[in-house]
Symmetry: C2
Subunit: 282 residues, 2 copies
């Protein structure tokens, strides 16, 4: 039976560090504060917002909500971003994306100061994941994968990490983050030929394909660690990952369950960025 | 015997297209023009400058040289960049790097308008190679590799491309550019374990390790194509690549020689960027 890499354990450890940091900041008169900007009433935005708010409350981090109607103008959203940029008491900004099509998303996303870009939406922050420059914060989901590996004591140096998925939200940045830790990285995607042959050779397999249960027993081999970034709903209406857990778990050494794996860690990573951003005001 | 992928053939084909574009531009009253900015008297800068100037002359592209002393101030270099930014008759800028240590390289490099960034020195241009956004131009050496593969009719979709080297100048961007063409990519580097085992499985092996002849016969297998980006001097004072050509050539299907491979293509890629930049004024 594979070891289960549990998000709640990683989150507990992260939260402990965050709470200590928050207490230190407050003792010095700084109250870390997140601005949450939501345009419209998208269901998944609202669900993520609920999670973020709850995590902020648990960790004693303040937040402000800016709720804008779906038909808001680009200029109006830019004014909100500008207010956040200029407010020294607000340290990070979470803006839900994708934005409605009538808005100039590129202009809005890049208007935020990189030092407040706790969710990696500006070109400069995401570019820095590639260039290695110290600008902004990396995206939360790939960092959640890294936090899991770190918490469970994985040393990536010289390991073969195979990533399935080449999105800018998970696949590409998580590959870059693993390479920064000196892993040898391979990125597979929809056009990859003989994917199981490649994934079977991985020491660590990170799956961010965005399709339910596409990784079955034929993709894995004994001794591997599998990180499943997928969040899908299966044929019975249950939440499931991109990995067929029932099939893969008996083969590999360690695996993140879905739910209970990467997902829950992401929100604490977001809050940790807010706290790190606030620390720069010390 | 392996097919030799010859830079001069690729360059001839690129040059033909460039000359046609230049003629079209001139017929419409636009004279493509490159600004070359050199600080100090670094030998390799001067050698590259000589090549770029010669290529500009061959292709009938105008150029201006801005030669600044090694002890120039950041403000003075910024003034030159600003002049280039504001000059509608100058379409691209080549600034030799690394700049002397007394200068604020980050500020200078990022001062250039991305649309004139024909050598990919701004954060935004290099970030765009990762994000896939259409900003600036990709770096010339990795694009030279792509031009060679394109000229010789390689279809990258579904191919396994292995890159040795993770620099921001070649390794990382060439991997991203191959993935954009739907190749499955692996990046190896100094910390990779059992590198020959990985490189032997490649369909296409791109070597940008920066060390003379480190890729020997044990790294390759029959049927492969090898692109050698290295430029080194061997123990006899001769120019050589990162690949041990004598050992590898009998094994593989196709290979770029050094000299005579990637190197010569780079300058034409640079000039093609200047012409593409000028086309935006049509």
């Amino acid at each position: 039976m594979a070891q289960k890499l549990l998000g709640k354990e990683v989150t507990a450890s992260l939260n402990e560090r965050i709470i200590a940091d928050v207490n230190e900041l407050k003792a010095k008169g700084i109250e870390p504060r997140l601005a949450i900007v939501r345009v419209g009433e998208n269901e998944s935005d609202i669900a993520y917002e609920r999670g973020a708010v709850k995590r902020c409350e648990t960790l004693d981090v303040a937040y402000d909500k800016y709720l804008l109607p779906a038909d808001v103008t680009t200029e109006d959203v830019l004014q909100v971003i500008e207010k956040i940029n200029n407010d020294n008491n607000t340290h990070g900004c979470l803006l839900f994306r994708p934005l409605p099509k009538n808005l100039d998303a590129e202009r809005i996303e890049n208007a935020l100061k990189p030092e407040k870009d706790v969710d990696c939406m500006t070109e400069r922050s995401i570019g820095a994941v590639f260039t290695g420059k110290n600008v902004g914060y990396p995206p939360c989901t790939p960092q959640a994968c890294m936090e899991i590996l770190k918490y469970y004591g994985y040393e990536l140096k010289g390991k073969n990490v195979v990533v399935i998925g080449r999105s800018l939200v998970v696949g590409k940045p998580v590959a870059m983050m693993c390479m920064k830790e000196n892993a040898t990285i391979t990125i597979c995607h929809t056009r990859t030929v003989n994917m199981p042959e490649i994934t079977k050779k991985a020491d660590i397999l990170i799956v961010a394909a965005g399709r339910a249960k596409i990784v079955g027993a034929d993709y894995v081999s004994a001794g591997q660690t599998v990180i499943d970034v997928g969040i899908n709903v299966d044929e019975n209406g249950n939440m499931c990952g991109d990995v067929d857990f029932e099939a893969v778990e008996p083969v590999v050494s360690a695996i993140t369950p879905v739910p209970g794996g990467v997902g829950g860690v992401t929100t604490s990573v977001l809050v940790s960025h807010v706290v790190d951003a606030a620390k720069k005001y010390l």
